[in-house]
């Protein structure tokens, strides 16, 4: 019997729910042509052990500071659950003691899907040191 969890998209997380992704400076760069911050597609890869991409359900946090207070210098990218689903992903609640709003963004992390996610991601906290 497999011990792998079966990830199922949680429809109780509405399409307009904002999902927040904590970002190091390496994955964010200001684009002078677009005049906005750009996120690398690599920001949405699964973990090395295959665990899906970690995000937080914004409405279940007390503001963006809660996501980065233990991680100074990091930024936050925001994208809606609906956009994530349009990029071939599902959202699965995975509350943790240190982050009750934690969830997994699961699904095939193809180059196209990761680019799709990055293009729908808005930087709401710019990480320090990003170019």
């Amino acid at each position: 019997m497999s011990n792998e969890p079966e990830y199922v998209d949680d429809q109780s997380i509405g399409d307009d729910e904002d999902l927040w992704r904590r970002l190091p400076a390496y994955w964010v760069k200001y684009d002078y042509e677009l005049q906005t911050n750009r996120v690398s597609s690599q920001a949405f890869q699964n973990s090395p052990d295959g665990t899906p991409t970690s995000v937080s359900i914004s409405s279940e946090l007390n503001g963006p500071e809660e996501l980065i207070e233990e991680h100074p210098g990091y930024g936050i990218g925001s994208l809606t659950a609906g956009h994530s689903r349009s990029c071939g992903q599902g959202i699965y609640r995975n509350p943790r003691p240190e982050n009750p709003a934690h969830a997994y963004m699961f699904g095939a992390k193809t180059k196209g899907n990761m680019r799709c996610l990055a293009r729908g991601c808005e930087i709401i906290v710019v990480p320090s040191g990003s170019p």
């Binding site: 904590r22 190091p24 390496y26 994955w27 760069k29 684009d31 042509e33 677009l34 750009r38 690398s40 597609s41 690599q42 890869q45 699964n46 973990s47 090395p48 052990d49 665990t51 970690s54 991680h71 990091y74 193809t110 180059k111 196209g112 680019r115 170019p131």
Partner: protein
């Protein structure tokens, strides 16, 4: 289209780690055969020219060449110097450090595909220990990913003409795509 720079020598020197708490990375470095990557004869003496050095955790990577140093070489190396010393968990989750041989493969790829006046890529680490090099302009995205096993893949999207590629590296094809990113 070939770069004007010629690499004479790529040498790797590995020393003992001075930090007993740091996990040895010599295996990352000692299994790499940089001379074979670039097809160089390690006995060829370096001609007068330019050099770059990357300080690794357990040694250094020295690149020397003749001809005109590409304008992108210095900024690209500076970024690699930063990335090669990332600690585990640098993404605040479970990211692994960038592997030295990913850096070597990236250096080789750049010299094989870029012209001297190609825009410097945006160089980002991947959580798996690889490197991704990106170029972006309005409606055009080009990404070259070096995986920890040193395989190289190319992803290209042009929303203007609908072209899209997602395939292993084809050096000649990437040279052609990079023409769009020359200064």
């Amino acid at each position: 289209m070939s770069t004007q720079a010629v690499i004479d020598r790529l040498t790797l020197s590995v020393g003992a780690s001075t930090d007993p708490e740091r996990e040895p990375v010599q295996s990352d470095v000692s299994n790499v055969a940089p001379i074979q990557i670039l097809g160089l004869d390690s006995s060829t003496p370096a001609r007068e020219g330019w050099g770059q050095e990357l300080v690794l955790r357990n040694g250094s990577l020295v690149l020397s060449g003749s001809g005109q140093r590409p304008s992108w070489a210095q900024p690209a190396f500076s970024k690699r110097q930063e990335l090669v010393n990332l600690e585990p968990g640098w993404d605040s989750h479970d990211a692994v450090p960038v592997r030295a041989d990913s850096v070597l493969a990236a250096v080789s790829t750049l010299f094989e595909t870029m012209a001297s006046d190609t825009e410097t890529p945006w160089i980002v680490p991947t959580v798996h220990g690889g490197i991704q090099m990106e170029w972006h302009k309005s409606q055009v995205d080009l990404e070259i990913e070096i995986k920890p096993d040193r395989t190289v893949s190319v992803f290209y999207v042009n929303e203007q003409d609908g072209r899209q590629l997602d395939k292993p590296l084809d050096t000649a094809q990437v040279r052609s795509l990079l023409e769009e990113f020359r200064k």
